[in-house]
């Protein structure tokens, strides 16, 4: 895979074997934490080695519950899943808009689930989990985020009396675009803090 020739190669090879294996190699693998798989939080699984053999099997992981634990949330509410369907059009400025309205439909492509709660130090959190059927395609991301914005507004989360300190969402988004000068909440990425909190105390 990599060529270890030339000056300094020996030292580098040694370093590589000692550190790369653990540090770099496992980065994208699903045995530690795979950020890409957060596009569908309901289907996250880990490969776990079966003791006493060389084989491994898939184990489902409940990301939502793990994250609540990592944040140390005292949970106030966990919503039932919402499935949403939507159609799109572009306006005269070519901005993407919802055609008609978004609707809760059993087979809707967009899926949301929220957790609200407080941490020990009194901060109020809203965690929005969503499936991102648009994956990493520009048009798909645009649609996913428009549905998120529309749904978020419809649920009234941005209104002042909700008063969350922090809103977590998985995946790139435009939520802060909806902020008014009175709003105090900040948006953070679930993936980033998930990873950080998971490895923070392990000394990685």
């Amino acid at each position: 895979m990599l060529d270890f020739k030339g000056e300094g190669a020996d030292k580098f090879k040694e370093d590589y074997i000692l550190r790369y294996m653990l540090d770099v190699e496992s980065r994208g693998s699903s045995s530690l934490l795979n950020i890409e798989a957060f596009t569908d939080p309901t289907a996250y699984s880990l490969k776990v080695k079966i003791p006493g053999s060389d084989e491994s099997r898939e184990v489902k992981v409940d990301l939502m519950e793990t994250f609540n634990y990592l944040l140390g949330l005292q949970i106030k509410n966990i919503s039932a899943p919402h499935t949403i369907s939507a159609e799109f059009e572009r306006d005269s400025e070519k901005r993407l808009c919802i055609k008609g309205r978004i609707a809760e439909k059993a087979r809707g492509a967009w899926w949301f689930r929220t957790v609200t709660g407080t941490t020990l130090d009194g901060r109020k959190f809203l965690v929005i989990w969503r499936k991102r059927p648009g994956l990493e395609n520009p048009e798909g991301v645009e649609q996913d985020n428009l549905v998120l914005d529309t749904w978020f507004t419809k649920m009234g989360y941005s209104s002042k009396d909700s008063e969350f300190d922090t809103i977590y969402v998985n995946g790139t988004n435009n939520l802060e675009n909806l902020k008014t000068p009175d709003d105090l909440w900040k948006v953070r990425l679930i993936e980033e803090d998930f990873k950080r909190l998971m490895f923070e105390d392990a000394g990685v």
Binding site: L2, D3, F4, G6, E7, G8, A9, K11, F12, D15, Y16, R19, Y20, V24, R27, G28, I35, E36, R90, E93, K94, R95, L96, R123, E136, N137, P138, V141, E142, N145, L146, D165, T166, T172, N173, N174, L175, E176, N177, K179, K186, V187, R188, L189, E191, E192, D193, K195, R196, L197, E200
Partner: protein, 1067 residues
């Protein structure tokens, strides 16, 4: 009463700081203000996209050729600070807390520490002799009493130099500075391979409350710390910071105390508020212990009140003169606009004794005015983080028992309040007297003139005011008798009520509550007690607190915090307690401020659409009065010692300008104010109406205008200083990432970094995907990376961290370009020409009342400057346009500028708003002027106008060019055609040939074409004050190629560049 004359040295302590002076001299300045002048701008806070502090760029721009602090050395220090700050912020970011952003004075403190520690470890002998020369310089021609004692040169230099002190106002963030100092010290210890010699890290605090607070703050910064436990912890010494109260250190082991000998002498010792021991002299026990602890180690000491601590002690004065590294005491803090304003209601003793009732009524009214004002517009004031006003009475005695003097002062206050409420007729008469006549002092000055602007304009009669005071201040609309109630449920608390059944309006917090209640009863005040009750004191900061008055001697100096304090009554202040009083004052003037800037609203740059509520200055002012006149005299002495103006006659000077708007409307470019009903300012329209871009591969434009990243300076900063040179003359190596590099990059980390960058910049309407990041990294068409080839070789594993850092820097720049490009493409059709209106903010209409002009703030009462400014004002008003220059401040008369004079300021003697011209700008105006004077022929038949373009929010700016606000707009009117030219004098060391600001000469032509008005011609020039030989080397292009991009060189082509601009414009 005659004022006791105390033995005074001629020179204030703040002018005797030899070490501090030496550091300033390395920057070629003699005053802190001369450094601050270039860094004070809030927009310089934070990191650029290369993870370099913007302060660093400002320093290099204004101090490019320092012999000892070359740009490379400064960058090395900067990068150390970046790294340490990153460590302190890691945990904060992970917990969603606000990361540390250094203010300029904090950055300078850290930079000074870098400079000092670097030299201390490398060559203590020459550091010592450098400081010694500075001491000799300071001593030159001084009186015996003012001489600073030098080092004891026979001893080991390390022992002379291992103590540093930071003089920093309360609220200046000394705790965070301390955290960074620990990391800085550790770094240099390790770098010099001395870490085996370091034993423990110990923090000495004055009391347990502060120890606990420090423990929490260490945790927030992710620094391991623990409260010292003499029976354990030895296993991990050196790993975590051990916090111990100074009072627990003793010569011998005891029950609760520990012998100093138990620690060895090679520790890093940190001292918070060490002055509390210092006042008892150098031989005082605590200083002996401290010296023992750091005998072979090092110590950092932090205090807000060194001036008080060394008062009248020559030995201490000399000692601290040699070890105070940075001085950001109150006067700087205050003059930078931090904290509340303050007014000292100070009477001579005779007048006060005769008019005590009127005086106290006036103080009560001053407080009530704050209450009433706050109630009238609560929501607006809350935006500026102003809390419900609170009136506190404090003394300085920090004793658990009730001092007799405290008690008699408290009783005196209570008796006054009781009289005020009970005697309606007399109180109304006094209110009338205060509001209509004020109170005249022995010198004939009316102490309360202009103090009641809000009450006086409310149109209320004195009897109505009295009723309102009863209801608002005393929670007793119907009036009644004062009732003092000992709260048994809350130790040491006494409730104050009017009548037993009303809500308490105040609380007394003292050590011996029973004794005080008894004393009240003896003085004819009705008393009682309540068995079960919560603490009123702890509820003061809660929203539903009914308490308006707090009387208490201890709490305020022991870590109690409240943003509510708005009026301060002093009781029982003695002559020896200066340090405590200054601390108390420091807590009283704390202000959260708009956007938590900690600044007074008048000194905060407010975004458009936000206006200061009327009379807000009343709530942003701390009124201070004393129940005895000698307390106030004492207090003023303390303030003066700190260099704070003790008088309230601080100056804000308004300087008018002469305007000349020309004969025909001048064209400027601007974005339409609204698009489809949405404001375009601050990009609102783009965010709300435009298609949401997703980060993608480069367009043709982005391939043509590449991101250029020069990593050479960073490499030089990392290498040790001795190795610089050699590759300096070679052309930089331009290269790209290869798959072998990309394989090592952490894509998730890149993605998180870019998402965070997006949030920092407020670009919420762009989508970032990991996919795009991967594709961009394997594409070479959008960037150039200048870096020595060896740095990209596989060799040292640590290089992959550097590659990661490079990738982040490249991608951030690209995202910025991409976002700007998307915005520009969408906004371009909405650009238009507009006529410069007479109300344009560029014409200085908003800075001062009436017709506008400059607003100038003058520190202290510098009569000479005021006199000179009055002279200038007279020159302007008479229109004689005479030359005017004073201590590096200069008025520039140029009739073709739309207003005159323009002001230039070389040193920080005053503060001018809008900011004065810098040297490059001044030189340009003078060059243009002399061209006009010498080429009258060229100008015949032409009209020329110049206008200084202000920065963000006020002037003409071009977001697509990296939010470029060119410094000047020049109009040439020839035969009905307008040639509009944007000019920007600047140093171009830190920007590349492809920088959007340089490329703007083309962008502006695109705009011209788009707008399609043949009567208007647009051009843009950069006027470089960096010489061409440097630029050609940095950019590796010929001078003529640079000139082809409309960059002219100000210094080497001084006599020709103006002409070449004008010829190119009108080609």
């Amino acid at each position: 009463m005659a004022k006791a004359k105390k033995q005074k040295t001629a020179i204030p302590f703040s002018y005797k700081l030899a070490l501090n002076q030496w550091l300033l001299s390395l920057f070629g300045v003699s005053k802190f203000e001369d450094l601050a002048l270039h860094l004070r701008d809030e927009r310089l806070e934070g990191l650029d996209e290369n993870n370099i502090y913007r302060f660093h760029h400002a320093l290099v721009t204004y101090f490019p050729a320092l012999p000892e602090l070359t740009p490379a050395v400064l960058l090395e220090y900067d990068q150390n600070i970046v790294k340490h700050t990153g460590n302190l912020n890691e945990r904060r970011i992970a917990h969603g807390e606000k990361p540390i952003t250094w203010k300029y004075f904090q950055y300078l403190s850290l930079l000074f520490t870098e400079i000092y520690l670097d030299r201390y470890f490398a060559d203590p002998e020459s550091l010592r002799s450098a400081i010694t020369s500075q001491i000799n310089l300071l001593n030159e021609g001084k009186d015996e009493a003012d001489l600073i004692q030098g080092f004891d040169d026979s001893a080991d230099a390390n022992a002379d130099l291992n103590k540093l002190a930071f003089w920093m106002a309360t609220g200046g963030g000394k705790t965070l500075i301390m955290h960074a100092n620990i990391l800085q010290y550790r770094y240099y210890v390790e770098k010099n391979r001395k870490h085996r010699e370091l034993n423990r890290i110990i923090l000495l605090t004055p009391n347990e409350g502060l120890s606990q607070q420090h423990l929490r703050e260490f945790q927030a910064s992710g620094i391991e710390a623990e409260i010292f436990n003499k029976d354990g912890g030895s296993l991990f010494t050196g790993h975590s910071v051990e916090i111990i109260e100074i009072t627990k250190l003793k010569d011998e082991m005891g029950d609760k105390t520990v012998a100093v000998d138990a620690f060895e002498g090679n520790n890093l010792v940190l001292i918070d508020e060490g002055h509390r021991g210092a006042a008892s002299g150098e031989e005082g026990a605590w200083m002996r212990y401290r010296n023992a602890l750091c005998e072979k180690g090092f110590s950092f000491e932090y205090s807000a009140t060194f001036a008080q601590a060394v008062r009248g002690n020559a030995r201490l004065t000399s000692l601290y003169s040699r070890c105070i590294l940075s001085d950001y005491s109150y006067r700087y803090f205050y003059n930078d606009g931090f904290g509340k304003d303050y007014q000292i209601l100070n009477l001579d003793s005779d007048t006060q004794a005769q008019h005590l009732e009127v005086y106290l009524t006036a103080c009560l009214l001053a407080f009530f005015q704050q209450q009433k004002l706050f109630k009238s517009n609560e929501a607006a004031f809350r935006t500026f983080h102003i809390e419900k006003p609170l009136w506190i009475f404090v003394g300085s005695k920090v004793t658990a028992t009730l001092a007799t003097k405290d008690a008699s002062d408290i009783v005196e206050i209570l008796k006054y309040l009781a009289r005020f409420v009970a005697d309606r007729a007399a109180s109304i008469a006094r209110i009338t007297q205060v509001l209509s006549q004020g109170l005249v002092t022995a010198t004939g000055k009316n102490l309360f003139a202009n103090r009641f602007s809000f009450l006086n304009t409310s149109g209320l009669q004195a009897n109505t005011l009295f009723d309102e005071i009863l209801a608002t201040l005393f929670n007793a609309a119907g009036g009644g008798l004062l009732y003092v109630e000992n709260l048994k449920g809350a130790q040491g608390e006494i409730a104050l009520k009017i009548g037993a059944d009303n809500e308490p309006f105040g609380v007394i917090n003292v050590g011996d509550d029973a004794k005080l209640v008894k004393l009240c009863a003896e003085n004819g005040i009705e008393t009682g007690e309540r068995e079960f009750s919560g603490s009123l004191f702890h509820g003061i900061n809660k929203g539903d607190s009914t308490v308006n008055v707090l009387i208490g001697s201890k709490k305020f100096t022991e870590g109690w915090n409240s943003w509510r304090v708005s009026t301060l009554g002093l009781m029982n202040i003695g002559a020896t307690e200066g340090a405590q009083i200054i601390q108390l004052f420091g807590r009283g003037v704390r202000l959260k401020g708009f956007n938590q800037t900690l600044k007074r609203s008048a000194r905060t740059a407010l975004p458009d659409g936000v206006t200061r509520p009327k009379h807000i200055e009343i709530l942003e002012t701390l009124s201070i009065f004393g129940i005895h006149a000698d307390y106030m005299a004492q207090f003023r002495d303390f303030l003066e010692e700190e260099g704070l103006p003790g008088d309230d006659e601080r100056l804000e000077f308004f300087l008018p300008v002469i305007r000349n708007l020309g004969t025909q409307p001048l064209k400027t470019i601007r974005l339409k104010k609204q698009i489809n009903g949405v404001n375009t300012e601050f990009g609102d329209a783009f965010r709300q109406l435009a298609p949401i871009p997703t980060l993608s591969m480069p367009t043709e434009y982005l391939q043509k205008n590449k991101v250029v990243l020069n990593w050479y300076p960073k490499i030089q900063a990392i290498k040790s200083k001795g190795m610089i040179g050699g590759d300096e003359d070679a052309a930089p190596n331009i290269t790209y990432f290869q798959p072998k590099h990309i394989a090592f990059l952490d894509i998730a980390n890149l993605y998180f970094n870019i998402e965070r960058y997006k949030a920092e910049r407020g670009w919420y309407n762009i989508n970032i995907t990991r996919e795009a990041i991967k594709q961009l990294l394997s594409d070479q068409s959008w960037y150039q990376l200048c870096i020595p080839a060896s740095e990209l070789e596989l060799g040292d594993y640590n290089r992959i961290y550097q590659w990661q850092e490079i990738a982040i820097a490249l991608l951030k720049k690209y995202v910025e370009r991409y976002y700007s490009y998307s915005k520009r493409e969408w906004e371009m059709p909405h650009l238009e020409y507009s006529d410069l209106s007479a109300s344009d903010p560029n014409l200085l209409l908003h800075e001062s009342p009436g017709d506008g002009g400059y607003r100038i703030r003058i520190e202290d009462s510098q009569e000479e400057i005021v006199e000179k400014l009055n002279e200038l004002k007279a020159i302007i008003e008479s229109g004689t346009l005479k030359n005017w220059e004073f201590r590096g401040m200069k008025a520039i008369w140029f009739g073709k500028h739309l207003y005159q004079p323009l002001l230039y300021l070389e040193q920080g003697i005053v503060e001018i708003s809008p900011v004065p011209l810098n040297k490059g700008e001044k030189d340009f105006v003078e060059d243009l002027k002399s061209f006009c004077d010498n080429n009258t022929g060229y100008l015949s038949g032409k009209e020329m106008y110049l206008l200084r373009n202000l920065s963000k929010g006020k002037g003409v700016g071009f977001f697509e060019a990296g939010n470029f606000h060119p410094d000047f707009i020049l109009w040439l009117l020839i035969d009905g055609k307008q040639f509009v030219t944007f000019l920007d004098p600047k140093g171009i060391r830190n920007i590349g040939l492809n920088d959007p600001k340089v490329q703007f000469y083309q962008t502006v032509k695109d705009i011209e074409k788009r707008l399609g008005n043949t009567a208007v011609v647009l051009n843009s020039f950069i006027i470089s004050n960096t010489p061409s030989h440097e630029t050609t080397k940095l950019w590796s292009v010929k001078k003529s190629d640079i000139q082809a991009r409309n960059v002219v060189f100000q210094e080497e082509d001084k006599s020709t560049y103006i002409k070449s601009i004008l010829e190119k414009v009108n080609a």
